[in-house]
Point group: C2
Chain length 202, copies 2
């Protein structure tokens, strides 16, 4: 295990990387099935087909494991569209996000942020990194739109992303109705309208 520091983040490769990936995937599956309240190192180890001590060696606590599973998931979660139109780009992003939120994944993760995140600074930090990362990935999309003259030069990528994603999350946490095409296109129109009115500028 001497080289485990170097394997972090490597997706293919030696046995160590495969074991890590299997354990993180098992953590995610357990989370989806039973939520945070039902998560245990025992169940994760069984599902991943490894010994409990293999889990504990890398992740001394359940929160350590969860932070890594969430980080791994968040880095792979959403693509960066480039359709040539900011409206179509945002609709594409919205559809991808809707897939995550309409399934149990988004619900369970948000529930963790709301409850466990209150008690664990590291979990809160992992969530914050996820959203910072999302904003960074949206930067080229927004910059290209500015370049095409679709958005004011002062438009803030994070503010635009927040404005258009908020109604999608809102539906998930309120009525829980599916996030559909009508909601996505509406959220995009409202966000672009705000951006063009200069309300989402730096």
């Amino acid at each position: 295990m001497a080289n485990r520091q170097f394997n972090r983040g490597v997706r293919t490769g030696g046995r160590s990387a495969r074991v890590r990936a299997a354990i993180l995937a098992a953590t995610f599956d357990e989370l989806l099935q039973g939520g945070y309240a039902g998560l245990s190192v025992e169940a994760v180890a069984t599902r991943a087909g490894v010994n409990k001590t293999t889990v504990y060696r890398r992740w001394p606590t359940l929160d350590d494991l969860l932070v890594d599973a969430l980080t791994e998931w968040s880095l792979e979660a959403l693509p960066v569209p480039d359709t040539g139109s900011i409206e179509a780009d945002l609709v594409t992003l919205g559809r991808e996000l809707a897939d995550v939120l309409n399934e149990g994944v988004g619900r369970q993760i948000v529930a963790i942020v709301l409850t466990a995140g209150l008690k664990s600074a590291r979990l809160s930090e992992a969530t914050r990194r996820y959203f910072d990362h999302q904003a960074l990935r949206a930067l080229p999309t927004v910059n290209q739109a500015i370049g095409r003259g679709e958005l004011p030069a002062t438009c803030d990528a994070n503010a635009l992303l927040t404005a258009f994603r908020a109604p999608l999350f809102y539906r998930m946490v309120t009525t829980g109705d599916p996030i559909d095409e009508a909601l996505i296109t509406h959220a995009v129109r409202v966000a672009l309208n705000a951006a063009r009115a200069g309300l989402l500028s730096k």
Copy 2:
């Protein structure tokens, strides 16, 4: 207990109403302290100073109890402001909502909706009723603004409420940073801008 059906919803009155109020308040306090995962009829009864059987007689299951506690809370939760300006009305509503969401109450309730709500149709229904009720209460505020010429006549109260509340909930479920005055006034401006552009019409 013959008249207990008639006491439902009565806030003051006989011993039966007082016991009911004490049990619902205890349910809420337990929920805030330990979340849904830690909720038990035993703990609620102890906190309310009643026998477990007193709880079970009215609420056969924990979900029954939770549905009533959430309903009671939601009916009293938010005021209907009437400042004479839709912008100030919405900012007032936003501050009240921020108080709820910045404390643990909002977090725990949303977490329940996201996890337990998946399994309990009655809990989902109670949440939906809460949001329907919120939209109904906002109707006079929006109608008065339409009457004053501050909003287009076609403006939809529910759409306006959703547009302005979504960024507040979004912050709670993402970074978890406090919902502050800057966010509230910004959300109100974006929502009013959308309404005036005809994007929140029926």
